[in-house]
């Protein structure tokens, strides 16, 4: 439902285009400020990159959006719905899926099973129907496995479907993480450093995958990344954080030439450091 009472500055036009909008988000951990007053928008269908030096608060923001952390103040607007905080169950139902910086796969299960967990909300049959292998349960299973098989094909892991996830090399595990998020058929995909620890070749493959997901499945993507080259190539929109504050927000070429951004990366001190 669109919020009809939005002021003219962020007009109805722009509101329709933003799938996710953060307003004034602040978060602290035991007295240490993680993010201060962050606000930006992610338009429908775009790839938005969240960049900044380590500790700038990027993962924390992602955690706020996916419901892992609860902000102290501010609002999250997803598809027109405004909330002061998100809980993971709601996020999952809304179609927000994510990957984690340190792989958070279900190590005791196979690749296919990991992907299948993302389908959990689409299960129609009750546990009793599954226990007795009744028709509706079997239909569920079949449908879910078929859908997951497609994703496996997309991420190129079909032959590893039954491998225990814990035994796979790091690069493949990262792809399984992505596969699990994709299996949820999300509207918004949050990627936390999806290219970390990968070789150049792996990065290229992953980047192509990300682009394909965005183009083919029309998934809006918000990703955290350090490799500036990748960021420039992949994203339509870049938001830069430093010490928990937003210091730049715009298209890649504009942002990369921004003074404050350059200073942040080169470590030049500026007035806003007083916050810490």
């Amino acid at each position: 439902m669109l919020d009809a009472a939005l002021p003219g500055a962020v007009g109805a036009e722009a509101a329709r285009a933003a799938l996710l909008s953060l307003e004034g988000i602040s978060l602290s951990f035991k007295g240490i400020r993680a993010v201060s007053d962050i606000g930006f928008e992610v338009a429908r269908g775009e790839i938005c990159a969240l960049v900044g030096p380590n500790g700038a608060g990027k993962s924390s923001l992602l955690n706020v959006v996916s419901g892992v952390y609860r902000p102290e103040s501010g609002a999250i607007v997803f598809d027109g719905q405004r909330r002061s905080h998100v809980d993971p169950a709601w996020a999952a139902r809304q179609g927000i899926a994510r990957t984690f910086q340190n792989i958070a796969l279900f190590k005791g299960m196979s690749v296919e099973d990991n992907l299948l967990t993302a389908k959990t909300l689409t299960t129609r049959a009750t546990f009793l129907e599954h226990a007795f292998s009744l028709p509706r349960a079997r239909r569920d299973e079949r449908r879910q496995r078929e859908e997951v098989a497609e994703v496996l094909g997309l991420i190129g892991l079909t032959e590893h479907a039954h491998s225990p996830v814990g035994k796979l090399p790091y690069g493949l595990q990262k792809r399984v993480e992505l596969g699990r998020a994709l299996s949820a058929r999300p509207r918004l995909l949050l990627l936390d450093e999806p290219f970390a620890g990968m070789s150049a070749a792996e990065k290229e493959q992953m980047a192509e995958l990300v682009l394909e997901v965005n183009a083919r499945l029309e998934t809006t993507i918000l990703l955290i990344e350090h490799d500036m080259g990748l960021v420039m190539d992949l994203s339509d929109h870049v938001v830069v954080l430093d010490y928990g504050r937003k210091i730049a927000d715009g298209p890649p070429d504009v942002v990369r030439r921004d003074e404050a951004v350059i200073d942040a990366y080169l470590g030049v001190e500026h007035a806003s450091d007083a916050s810490n």
Partner: protein
């Protein structure tokens, strides 16, 4: 009122003993993240060995010394033989390993010394002392005093000595501790040795109180509610937790137990701990871990 005080004091004194047992757990947990389920078996082994040596005409002091040496050796052996092979495994796996250890120690203890009940004499008669009309068992006082001394000594160890600081460093961040040159195996070995000593003292005190028999190893299970209420990582917590459990258990038995026919001591501490956890999931003094994803 007087009766209430008697029950309360009796409970508090028992609580001090629970605290002492619990501290053995805390040390090991703090240093290595292992919940040492075999602490109970160690208590039994300590008491049983001492008593059996005395019955074979060892002088009490010699028996004590031999048993002490044995317990320390056991602690170090456990760390070296078993736990080192299980580094990096999940807490649940480690717990189950200590479960296996408890089977071994119990089985071995009873195989060595037999399964009969033994009486244990520590030379302190169980006579009632009277403090303005409130009767307190002399032995209970002695036991509590010993336990309190032990607790005090251990607290000092943890906060004032080099070993204690190393222990807290390891508990906080093993990798960081390694990088400043702390030898993890040495710290762990020391901690298990101390746990062995604590087990021995607990075994002697409890054994004198209730006789040395198999059920002694179950006493230690009561330490779990103590740890839960007090937090697994805080020595102060175990003191407070122990007192709460000891007093609570006795009071419940008297006031609630009379309504339902007694025997509530068997489960009351656990239900108490459960209640606490629901209100404060990390115990009174424990630290809430901030999960970083």
């Amino acid at each position: 009122m007087q009766f209430f005080l008697e029950v309360l004091v009796g409970g508090l004194l028992a609580g001090v003993m629970y605290s002492m047992v619990a501290i053995g757990f805390v040390l090991i947990f703090k240093a290595s993240g292992v919940f040492n389920f075999s602490q109970g078996a160690m208590v039994l082994l300590g008491a049983l060995t001492y008593v059996s040596l005395v019955e074979r005409d060892f002088s009490p002091w010699l028996a004590l010394l031999v048993t002490l040496a044995g317990m320390v050796a056991l602690g170090v052996a456990i760390e070296r033989v078993v736990l080192r092979r299980l580094v990096n495994r999940s807490p649940l796996t480690l717990f189950m390993a200590t479960l296996g250890l408890s089977f071994i120690i119990e089985g071995a203890a009873q195989a060595m010394w037999g399964a009969q009940v033994h009486g244990l004499e520590l030379g302190v008669p169980d006579l009632p002392l009277s403090f303005s009309d409130v009767f307190i068992s002399q032995f209970d006082l002695f036991a509590a005093a010993t336990a309190a001394t032990m607790v005090g000594a251990l607290s000092l160890l943890v906060t004032r000595t080099k070993l204690g600081i190393a222990l807290r460093a390891v508990a906080d961040d093993p990798l960081a501790a390694l990088s400043v040159g702390i030898s993890l195996p040495r710290v762990w070995g020391a901690v298990w040795a101390i746990a062995g000593v604590v087990a021995l003292v607990a075994g002697l005190l409890w054994g004198a109180r209730t006789g040395v028999q198999f059920s002694l190893s179950l006493v230690v299970l009561k330490a779990l509610p103590v740890l839960i209420i007090g937090g697994f990582t805080s020595v102060t917590g175990t003191i407070v937790g122990g007192l709460l459990v000891g007093a609570g258990e006795k009071l419940a038995e008297v006031y609630v137990g009379s309504l339902v026919g007694g025997g509530t001591e068997a489960w009351f501490p656990y239900v108490l701990a459960l209640g606490f956890l629901v209100v404060r999931p990390t115990g009174l003094f424990g630290e809430a871990a901030v999960e970083r994803v």
